[in-house]
């Protein structure tokens, strides 16, 4: 017994020791980070009155390598750490940024950018044309495998190189001299200055990258050229950026420091906002109704559409009248008002609000409502469609959505409308995102939920999704006239004509109705009263250059 006891004690001791060593190392790490935070805190208290903005990034940024960080988690901060040739301004239109000016050739194919003399990297290096050639070539390099590469297809030879057919030498990129960068495009692209504000087009400091290919992985090796630079990065935990004193427009930047937490739970984020640990927060779904009227709420439109896709290869959706009937039985107003409840606009077209044609008219307003809730008309179309197909009874319909509470609620609302207005019973089915996406791409669904978020600010980004065999089509729908209109719009140098083609294309889409739009998206945030000047672009990234905290 005694022996047994002593062995037990030895075991316990071993366990406790193991625990202690684990604890020690953990403690050390803690101390390290504690020290670091200590220094920053000291720094903060030394210059008391420093403006420190506290934001939440949700999760660890995927990557700060510009073309690799192709998602909101990377963009939010990356867009403030770096800067492309242009930057979207407070009006969401491209402004001169790293480039102070540019010349566009008459045929709209050649862009010559003049980079600012005082455009510098945070390590003091000049930002050069070579840095852009290097970065943009990498963006398109098939060996790198960046999912953002498609944005570079506007550049001459871009698609060929990225598809493994061309070579980097044939790309339309040229460093004329140290500060002059010339780009040749495949076709005149009226919105090219908008596209290149996307973080995928940020320059990369070639000298730094060649010496250390993973320069973007840690704070101490990261070189920035934007309003802020990275000062600390505790992976999976938090990161901090401070004002970049090398930035050409540093006098505009008001904040001294931006601290980013990684809180991936909206309730906690909101509680941290309430307790003063964060200056902005998203709104927890359960509180949306109560909080939406508060003074602290800031609502910005997001260029994107939630919609359902019909699979035109599956019965009964081969029939356009049946598609239209169901589309007209979706009550967008009801969904926006009682289900999503975030002040979204109902969608009665595919292209969202906020895109102005050359004469200053909004695309959505000009092209009008292309589908409207109309149960009477829907019933009539359904009968006609069923007669055309010789149906006595409609084949069973399943609506599939990727698993989420919101998607479920919307689908249930749609289900109810179909039943009440058309007398159709549909089945709901949900699947985990990755499975769902694969099935949708393989055209296995009948009717399925989708969302589109714009990559850059032009309607063509929305509309080209539905050309034949596009990876974004996923309806099986194919229409020669539509394909032709989109192809022509992409070639058209005259802006007026280009917009006409796009207006027409969207009308064709809704005459055929392979999709049912539901709502356009919003970006809804709470801001503390003393925070101002945060700009959130419809294309998804935010600007802190003009942000202030009093």
């Amino acid at each position: 017994m005694k022996k047994g006891l002593s062995i037990l004690f030895v075991l316990l001791a071993v366990f406790v020791l193991a625990a202690c060593t684990a604890n020690e190392s953990a403690g050390e790490e803690d101390q390290d980070s504690g020290d670091q935070t200590g220094t920053t805190e000291e720094g903060t208290s030394e210059n008391s009155g420093d403006k420190v903005l506290r934001l939440n990034n949700g999760v660890e940024p995927t990557s700060f390598d510009p073309p690799e960080g192709f998602d909101a988690a990377s963009w939010q901060s990356l867009n403030n750490l770096m800067e492309g040739l242009t930057r979207l301004g407070q009006d969401h239109k491209p402004q001169a940024a790293t480039a102070e000016s540019w010349d566009i050739s008459d045929d709209g194919l050649e862009y010559t950018f003049h980079i600012r003399d005082n455009a510098k990297w945070s390590n003091g290096d000049d930002v050069t044309a070579d840095d852009f050639v290097y970065a943009w070539t990498r963006l398109l390099d098939p060996e790198e495998g960046f999912s953002s590469a498609f944005l570079g297809y506007f550049i001459q030879g871009g698609e060929a190189f990225n598809s493994g057919e061309g070579s980097a030498d044939d790309l339309g990129l040229e460093a004329v001299d140290e500060k002059t960068f010339k780009v040749t495009l495949e076709a005149p692209t009226g919105f090219f200055l908008n596209v290149i504000s996307n973080p995928a087009f940020f320059p990369v400091n070639k000298a730094v990258a060649e010496e250390n290919p993973e320069w973007y992985a840690e704070a101490d090796t990261f070189v920035a050229n934007g309003p802020f630079k990275l000062s600390e990065w505790n992976h999976d935990s938090d990161f901090t950026m401070v004002k970049n004193d090398q930035y050409w427009d540093k006098d505009t930047v008001k904040l001294d420091e931006v601290h980013w937490a990684m809180v991936n739970e909206t309730n906690t984020e909101y509680q941290m906002f309430e307790s003063g640990d964060l200056d902005t927060s998203e709104i927890p779904a359960d509180l949306a109704e109560d909080l939406l009227d508060s003074d602290q709420v800031v609502i910005d439109p997001q260029a994107g559409t939630q919609f359902y896709r019909f699979n035109v290869n599956k019965e009964p959706f081969q029939n356009v009248k049946i598609r239209k009937a169901l589309a007209m039985a979706v009550n967008q107003d009801e969904i926006v008002e009682y289900v999503t409840k975030k002040g979204e606009k109902p969608a009665r077209g595919f292209v969202s609000y906020g895109f102005e044609d050359p004469s200053g008219n909004d695309f959505r307003e000009t092209n009008g409502d292309l589908v409207e809730y109309d149960p009477e008309q829907a019933k009539k179309l359904l009968e006609e469609g069923m007669e055309e197909e010789g149906y006595d009874e409609l084949p069973p319909i399943t609506l599939t959505y990727n698993t989420s509470d919101d998607n479920k609620k919307i689908a249930e609302t749609v289900q109810q409308r179909f039943q009440q207005d058309l007398g159709i019973e549909i089945t709901l089915e949900n699947a985990e995102w990755n499975v769902f996406l694969q099935d949708q791409k393989d055209l296995k669904h009948q009717l399925s939920r989708s969302s589109f978020l714009a990559d850059y600010g032009d309607p063509i980004n929305f509309l080209e999704s539905f050309v034949t065999d596009s990876s974004m089509n996923r309806t099986g729908w194919s229409n020669e006239k539509y394909d032709d209109l989109i192809a022509r719009a992409k070639e058209e140098a005259d802006e007026e004509k280009r917009w006409e083609l796009m207006y027409e294309a969207e009308k064709v889409l809704f005459e055929e109705m392979p999709i049912v739009p539901v709502n356009f998206y919003n970006q809804v945030f709470l801001h503390k009263d003393n925070v101002s000047g945060i700009v959130r672009h419809p294309v998804g990234y935010m600007e802190l250059k003009w942000a202030d905290k009093n």
Binding site: L11, E68, N162, G164, D238, N267, N434
Partner: protein
């Protein structure tokens, strides 16, 4: 004893091999791939990506490569976080989960046992009922609800503790309470019932008859035997708590290991799925092994090895 350990060790290896194989098969059986994105990439890009992560090799080669990575304990790069390797992720997350877990386990064990003993000694008294009421609450309130409520009270309303994140000892208090309450309640109930049973045994009466102080009877004679059931559940409890709890780490924004389990599956991040599974199962198996050994030591009637028993 040594033979027993050797045998157990072999069984442990086989178990891990089975787990690894099953995970590998299941992981590749679910539809979708790590590169399954909304917008299709060019075929050349797709091929390059697959080649980079050896996903273009036949399955058996991938399996062998995987076994190799386990033996060398080098799971390769994460697909979702391209700048980190799986070892980086484990190295970053595990110490934090371990720290949170250890503190919680210690708090749960000490408070659970104390609560159990007090309840047993004051059997059917007010203190017993109070202690057991706490225990029932602890078991029945899910920790994520407790967590949210703790944050609401201590951080938002009273503003005496930080709401979330992991940067100072003060930040540990709320997550530890949320994490320890459930296990504490279980331990308290187990301790109470087995303590009650032990206290009626003859040798306790004997000790009483000898005139030993109640303190000595409880802590020297009764407690050791009463703890057997507690030891039984410790293994799973430890492994579960120490390797990170997804929900609580998410609520408190603690950069531990928990999220990798769930997110790696959603992202089809094959190397991370395999890395976390192997790590977790190895940890669990070792914990269970230690518990078995401790069991044999605590109660000599349980023989670990049949031959030894003969």
């Amino acid at each position: 004893m040594l033979r027993y350990i050797a045998k157990r060790f072999l069984i442990m290896l086989v178990t891990i091999l089975i787990i690894v194989t099953l995970t590998f098969v299941l992981m590749h059986a679910i539809p979708g791939s790590p590169f399954n994105q909304e917008r299709g990439t060019s075929e050349a890009v797709q091929a390059n990506l697959e080649a980079h992560y050896h996903l273009d090799e036949p399955m058996y080669i991938q399996y062998l490569l995987y076994l190799k990575s386990i033996v060398t304990f080098d799971f390769g790069p994460s697909i979702k976080q391209p700048t980190s390797t799986v070892n980086d992720l484990l190295g970053r997350g595990f110490p934090i989960s371990l720290e949170l877990g250890l503190v919680s386990v210690i708090v749960a064990i000490i408070s659970g046992i104390l609560l159990g003993i007090i309840a047993a000694l004051r059997h059917n008294g007010i203190i017993d009922y109070a202690a057991m009421a706490i225990a029932v609450l602890g078991i029945s309130i899910p920790n994520f609800i407790l967590a949210t409520q703790l944050i609401q009270s201590f951080a938002v309303t009273w503003k005496i503790l930080p709401a979330a994140t992991w940067s100072s000892p003060k930040h540990m208090i709320l997550p530890v309470i949320a994490l320890a309450t459930g296990p504490m309640a279980i331990i308290a109930r187990l301790t109470r019932s087995s303590m009650l049973e032990v206290l009626t045994q003859d040798y306790i009466k004997m000790a009483r008859a000898k005139g030993l102080s109640p303190y000595k009877i409880v802590f020297k004679h009764a407690l050791k035997n009463a703890l057997m059931p507690v030891v039984t559940i410790l293994g799973t409890l430890l492994a579960g708590i120490l390797t990170g709890t997804f929900v609580l780490e998410k609520i408190f924004a603690i950069p531990g290991m928990g999220k990798y389990f769930v997110e790696s599956i959603n992202n089809r991040d094959y190397p991370v799925i395999m890395g976390t599974t192997v790590f977790y199962s190895a940890f669990l198996i070792i914990m269970l092994f230690l518990v078995d050994i401790a069991y044999g030591i605590l109660d000599p009637r349980i023989k670990l090895h049949k031959k030894e028993a003969e």
